[in-house]
């Protein structure tokens, strides 16, 4: 009994701290203009000249960050994950000797990719710096006010000057086009597989699978995907949702997942109690 009470007491504060950390990260991610911007901030925190930055070290730092965020079960925007995948790819290229691909063509070397990324970081940093300098200048209407007299010696106007700028024209044309095509207000729905759908689907398939099927123990996750062998957005979403649903079932201790290498196939197996339950059924 003492143990049973002690465990929740230990876990509760820990979870709260994690949640707090998670909140902080969500807040701080909001401040970034995307993964490159985040990467630049990380690079700056190393307090070294960007021209001498180690892209490999930076890649590792970013991957560690993404890993940490995912452990806290924070959903990261897709572009941050894509960046992580790319950096993992870059890291492997930097660490392994260049291998010609199937067609015998030399791919871009890891060094060339790292150099391109370093250039991009330097350029973005330069732009952020000059943007700040630009807006620190005395601005018209803010620090320097336009001067206009309250009146001329003789008030009667003799000519008309028409006021209009390019934005007015574009805005007017935009209004006509919007009026002519009210259907552009329609909200298109996309045939994507939702998380709920994927969870039901996966649970159903696993639940209804004869226990004899599990003899080989590890089955490729691909086998649980809908049978659409194309690279459409739909399939990609099904892949993402099925994987997330599988991860959720791991969390519920129903199944195990394994992957033997980056971008390798993912395998799924039943946890024992689930297997027993399946056998009973």
């Amino acid at each position: 009994m003492e143990n049973a009470i002690a465990i929740p007491f230990e876990e509760d504060p820990a979870r709260t701290a994690e949640e707090k950390a998670a909140d902080a990260l969500i807040v701080s991610l909001d401040g970034y203009e995307g993964p490159i911007d985040l990467l630049l901030t990380m690079a700056r925190d190393q307090k070294v000249d960007l021209r001498q930055i180690s892209i490999l070290a930076l890649a590792e730092q970013y991957l560690a960050f993404v890993e940490k965020v995912r452990k806290l079960r924070i959903e990261l925007a897709a572009d941050y994950l894509v960046m992580a995948a790319w950096l993992a790819y870059l890291k492997s290229k930097l660490l392994l000797p260049a291998i010609p691909n199937a067609e015998g063509e030399e791919e871009l070397s890891g060094e060339a990719l790292a150099e391109a990324l370093a250039f991009q970081l330097q350029r973005l940093e330069a732009m952020q710096k000059v943007a700040k300098q630009l807006f620190e200048r005395p601005q018209l209407g803010l620090n320097r006010l336009p001067v206009g007299l309250a009146g001329l010696a003789d008030q009667a106007p003799v000519a008309v000057k028409w006021q209009a700028n390019l934005f007015d024209i574009l805005d007017a044309y935009g209004a006509i086009t919007r009026r002519a095509n009210p259907k552009t207000y329609d909200i298109k729905t996309w045939p994507l597989m939702s998380m709920d759908e994927a969870t039901m689907r996966l649970a159903n398939m696993i639940g209804h699978m004869p226990s004899s099927q599990w003899k080989e123990l590890w089955k490729a996750l691909d086998a649980f995907m809908p049978n659409e062998d194309d690279a459409t957005l739909n399939t990609r979403s099904a892949m993402a949702s099925t994987l997330t649903a599988a991860l959720e079932m791991v969390k519920q201790e129903k199944i195990n997942l394994k992957q033997e290498g980056l971008f390798g196939p993912i395998y799924i197996s039943l946890r024992e109690q689930t297997q027993d339950a399946a056998n009973d059924a």
């Binding site: 203009e33 995307g34 993964p35 490159i36 925007a77 572009d79 941050y80 894509v82 006010l145 336009p146 001067v147 206009g148 007299l149 309250a150 009146g151 001329l152 010696a153 003789d154 008030q155 009667a156 106007p157 003799v158 000519a159 008309v160 000057k161 028409w162 006021q163 209009a164 700028n165 390019l166 007015d168 024209i169 574009l170 805005d171 007017a172 044309y173 935009g174 209004a175 006509i176 086009t177 919007r178 009026r179 002519a180 552009t184 207000y185 329609d186 909200i187 298109k188 996309w190 957005l233």
Partner: protein, 218 residues
Amino acid sequence: MMLDPNDDTRDLRVLEAALFASREPVNTDKLKTFLPHLEGAGIHALLAKLKQDYADRGVSLEESEQGWAFRTSADLAESLQTLRVEERKLSRAAMETLAVIAYHQPLTRVEIEGVRGVATSKGTIDMLLETGWIKPGRRRETPGRPLTWVTTPAFLDHFGLESIVDLPGLDDLKAAGLLDRRPAVAVTADLFDEEGGAVLASEDSEDDYAEESEEAAA
């Protein structure tokens, strides 16, 4: 110039700048808000000094019932005739008509109405003719030989365009947010399809979506 903030010179400069930057005459109470450390007498002394400084210049400081204001000096009126210009804004209808002519020229009045979906009053074309931004083009070789309308070089000049093809196209307007009110997810999907997955991050996409849904609902 290393000025003591309490120096008379700075006060005089503030007063001068405040008077020049105001479109309407400024009364002494209002002037005091710019120089809260001064008494009314101090303000008046500065105004007298300022008036003196400008006695022989092209503008002079004058006091009226509404307050103090700089005006062009009376003896220059003749040389400044062309300054007496009244600024007027184009009506929304004129703006739209101008936009349609710019994008679809040459086109006839009936065609303009077709694009805008509204009848064009004669006053609208007249107003545009007055701006010097449009002119009649060739007659269309169809029954009735209707007149077409085109933009002028003055149009390009006024709007800072080198040529009429430099007007942003529909796709550009869409990207600039001037046309399209579709939710952001569709745009992301477009990127996927066109560029083979080379999608960059879509910033603020959720905010965009929320904003536009509200607009649509309104």
